[in-house]
């Protein structure tokens, strides 16, 4: 927070106080007869080391007789801005002019507004006084924060030239800000594009560099996988060998004395069929059912009694393995 040089002009006397962090560090007073005196006083203050080194900001309150203050009754209901314009346009109606232009300001008085009696407070200062303050501040190298009427801190007084200058400055600052924002966005966009481009180029280079080794690795992995599958397949085949022998041995073991087979058919999926003759086909089938090598043995049709060489047999047809749909 910058130090504050508060000037109070009232009754032809100027009181100056320099405050730093709200503490009074310097004060002085002098008589002021005219606008030129005020300008000179401000320039002199600005040359004082205590004020100049601190780069203080000027706040000035101007009272009577320089300030003219009026209470205006029965004013049309306007916005505050329009009220100020109205007072400014008709300043000669409300204030003494003495042949010089006036700097005016106005505001609605709240209490009166609530009572629906539109009363405004209007103030005016001859422009040479305001110009003297603005010129003095500029020549002293100090920043002018505000010119206020004494007792009306909500009203700000500003010369038309200062207003115009401020408006121009404000517009210039807005343009500069807009341009800076636009340039910042464009710069960000350009940086992003460049970064994307460089990323893409680097990735393409990296892809080109890694493609061959990665393809070789991928190819090796595929061949590895195929080889593993092949090894497993051959091993399964090796484990399956002997199935035909085991099945045939089981069937032969289940055959009782004087029984014989006429045909035997077997395939690698464990299914098959046999025909033959036995004294008791049912008991032979029962003995086959307990054998793990034969899956689901079952009679295919009824056993037929027959007599061969004086022996009575039952001709049978047996299937085994999973029944085909």
């Amino acid at each position: 927070m910058r130090p504050q040089l508060s000037l109070h002009l009232e009754g032809g006397h100027l009181l100056a106080e320099l405050r730093s962090h709200r503490e009074l560090t310097w004060s002085a007073g002098c008589a002021v007869a005219g606008a030129d005196d005020l300008e000179s006083a401000i320039i002199e203050m600005g040359q004082l080391p205590a004020v100049h080194d601190a780069k203080a900001e000027i706040w000035i309150a101007i009272g009577e007789p320089v300030l003219q203050s009026r209470s205006l009754h029965d004013m049309p209901h306007l916005s505050t801005t329009d009220l100020r314009l109205l007072v400014g346009r008709h300043s000669d109606r409300y204030f003494r002019k003495n042949g010089v232009s006036l700097v005016t300001s106005a505001r609605w008085e709240q209490r009166a507004q609530r009572l629906r009696s539109w009363r405004a407070r209007a103030v005016a200062i001859e422009e040479p006084w305001v110009s003297a303050v603005e010129r003095g501040s500029e020549r002293a190298g100090l920043r002018l924060r505000s010119i206020q009427p004494v007792g009306q801190p909500q009203l700000i007084l500003q010369s038309s030239q200062s207003q115009a200058t401020q408006l121009v400055r404000h517009r210039r600052e807005c343009r500069r800000l807009a341009l800076a924002v636009l340039l910042a966005w464009l710069a960000a966009f350009a940086v992003l594009m460049l970064r994307q481009q460089s990323d893409l180029a680097w990735l393409q280079e990296e892809e080109a560099r890694l493609t061959e080794p990665a393809r070789a690795v991928s190819d090796a992995e595929r061949r590895m996988h195929e080889a593993s599958v092949a090894i497993a397949t051959v091993r399964q085949s090796a484990q399956r060998r002997g199935s035909a022998l085991r099945t045939l041995a089981s069937v032969l073991a289940a055959l009782p004395d004087s029984a014989y087979l006429t045909t035997f058919h077997w395939t690698a999926d464990g299914a098959g069929a046999m025909t033959g003759a036995a004294p008791d086909a049912a008991s032979m089938l029962a003995s086959m059912e307990g054998d793990a090598a034969l899956e689901g043995p079952r009679l295919d049709g009824a056993a037929v009694r027959d007599s061969v060489n004086g022996f009575v047999h039952q001709r049978f047809s047996i299937k085994f393995g999973r029944a085909r749909p």
């Binding site: 991928s218 992995e221 080889a227 002997g242 045939l248 058919h265």
Partner: protein, 189 residues
């Protein structure tokens, strides 16, 4: 600058900004989005490639293991590298069985077997012969135990005269399909 010139500059600027805002900028944004998508896709591809390359050591170990397993399978494979060679080897084995176990070999026919497990292929043949039950069982036992691995996939047996006088010699007519694996490509991965 006169008021007229100032207005011309202002409207010119508005036009240029309008064109930039409505035509150039959306196009540039679209290109940027497309490029971003390309960058992301490529980054994914490169990341995958790097992961693959990082797994090289593990792959080398696996290759060594598979190589030793392939070498270990050598005794189970037919000693051939072509289909004709494998059929010849199978045929030779069957004739050897016929000699050893007194099988009256009548027919040996190679069968086209399309079973494939690269780098291995399968060869098969169908054989018909006559023998007794003892010879058949010995032949099946030899096929099931002796190297290389011979895989019987089909077996049909028919007794020529069942129930005849037990003193007469037993004659069984056998049709068998036998297969085996061989290494189609001699080089290892």
């Amino acid at each position: 600058m006169t008021e007229r010139e100032r207005r011309a500059v202002l409207w010119g600027s508005i036009m240029i900004l309008g064109i930039v805002g409505l035509r150039v900028l959306p196009g540039a944004m679209g290109r940027m989005r497309a490029r971003q998508a390309s960058v992301q896709t490529l980054a994914g591809v490169v990341g995958r490639m790097r992961r693959d390359l990082d797994a090289m050591d593990a792959l080398t170990d696996s290759v060594r293991l598979v190589r030793s397993e392939l070498v270990g399978l050598d005794s189970t494979l037919l000693d051939a590298h072509t289909e004709i060679g494998a059929n010849g080897e199978l045929s030779l084995r069957m004739r050897s069985f016929a000699d050893r176990f007194v099988l009256d070999m009548q027919r040996i026919v190679p069968i086209t077997d399309t079973t494939l497990a690269p780098p291995f292929r399968r060869a098969a043949l169908a054989a018909s012969f006559e023998c007794d039950s003892r010879g058949l069982l010995r032949m099946l036992r030899a096929a099931a135990t002796e190297p290389p691995v011979l895989d019987v996939t089909s077996l049909d047996i028919a007794a020529t005269d069942p129930g005849s006088d037990p003193s007469l010699p037993e004659v069984l007519r056998v049709e068998i399909v036998v297969g085996g694996w061989y290494l189609d490509k001699p080089e290892l991965p």
